[in-house]
Amino acid sequence: MEAETKSGRLSTIAAHPLAELLECPPETGKLLNGTAACTVCEAGDVVFRQETECKGLYVLVSGQFVRSTERMKARLTLGPARAGELVELAAALGDGHHTYTLRALTQGTILLLTKESLQLAFESYPPLRMRLLEELAREVSRAYISCSLTRKTPARRQSAGANPG
């Protein structure tokens, strides 16, 4: 598949708007709002750290954030996260541990929908779970396509004397 086609496909699986994703009947909305924890963070604050337990789904209300991952002493910046984004669907719905570290670049506000309140909301309004599942599927699809667009297969050694490592 051509790289251009893949780039085009990325736009068809863009994240859906937050209001659409979290739309639910008033009683489920009240349940989520009633248990949501709002946090104000300053520039440089770590919202959550890679590999720690995920408490729930994070809604970025305002400010700018950056995702990064590290192993040993190496660190890789994954990209920005902005207001209006739903963060850590994979960890909140599945594995339960943060995949990366989220840090505030500017002052910002974050809403945390705890796993427990999400579970109650899913029971009260099952289509919400399905909608978030579909959003997670889009995120996985984007990850697959981004990975194939950024990764290059290794070149074969050109000469016997070349250092492959």
């Binding site: 068809t12 599945g94 995949t99 399905m130 599942l133 997670l136 699809s141 396509i145 290059k152 050694r157």
Partner: protein, 237 residues
């Protein structure tokens, strides 16, 4: 990479003796009865393609036994292997739920049995059973982590030896979780391993021989045992 599984195909989901060990199929009796009633069991020979990148996603596939190579084409048009899926893994789920074409190609690397469920049937099944959607979320989360770790392994491991060591450790941990002996079946060729480790086939052959000479690993046929995981771990630093 899961190498420890039975080759006795289950006749149906209700009588499958392995389902308690499988992430997706470990359902409540009610959900299991419903799951058993949908889809069909299909046997695939080694080399059979279950679906190809770019194909319309019409089915979800759950592996009952056997191993399937999940690959994609890179920017420069070459094939890159993302993971080896094993029993209990769900394939094609992200494309079905995101309503897009398959992002990857799935090819059997050994004879396997796969439960194949039509898209709408599977979506309806998830809608009926909360536990099934929970397992689907775990499966998607696992897929996400696989892609993430693949990118991370290539980006953050400085040397080819480190990347190969990481790959062997990941496979070993997946095949023998919590067991004292880290052993798994290496179903991939050196060329394919090279592809996953972001290096050349020659380097993989050289490094595996080096690891064997140093007695960090033991290779017997397709079986690989990691004898000194701490030494491999040190390489990944």
């Amino acid at each position: 990479m899961a190498g420890l599984h039975s080759h006795h195909p289950p006749e149906d989901c209700l009588n499958c003796e392995h389902r308690h060990l499988r992430m997706f199929c470990n359902l409540t009796p009610e959900a299991l009865a419903d799951y058993d009633a949908i889809g069909i069991m299909m046997s695939h020979a080694r080399g059979a393609k279950l679906f190809s990148e770019g194909d319309a996603a019409r089915n979800v596939f759950v592996i009952c036994y056997g191993q399937v190579k999940i690959s994609s084409t890179s920017r420069d048009g070459k094939t890159m292997i993302l993971k080896i899926a094993g029993p209990g893994d769900v394939m094609g789920l992200s494309a079905v739920l995101a309503n897009v074409a398959h992002e990857v190609t799935a090819e059997a690397i050994e004879p396997c049995q796969v439960k194949t469920v039509r898209k709408q049937e599977f979506v309806d099944f998830l809608g009926r059973h909360g536990i099934a959607s929970m397992h689907a979320a775990q499966s998607l989360s696992g897929e996400y982590l696989t892609v993430f770790h693949d990118a991370k392994r290539l980006a953050l491991s400085g040397s080819a030896a480190g990347r190969l060591a990481r790959l062997l450790l990941d496979w070993g941990t997946a095949a023998a979780p919590g067991k004292p002996e880290i052993r798994f079946t290496m179903a991939l060729t050196h060329e394919e391993i090279a592809n996953m480790a972001g290096t050349s086939r020659e380097t993989v052959t050289r490094l595996l021989n080096q690891f064997r000479r140093d007695q960090w690993i033991v290779i017997k046929g397709a079986s690989l045992t990691i004898v000194k995981p701490d030494q491999l771990e040190r390489l990944t630093a």
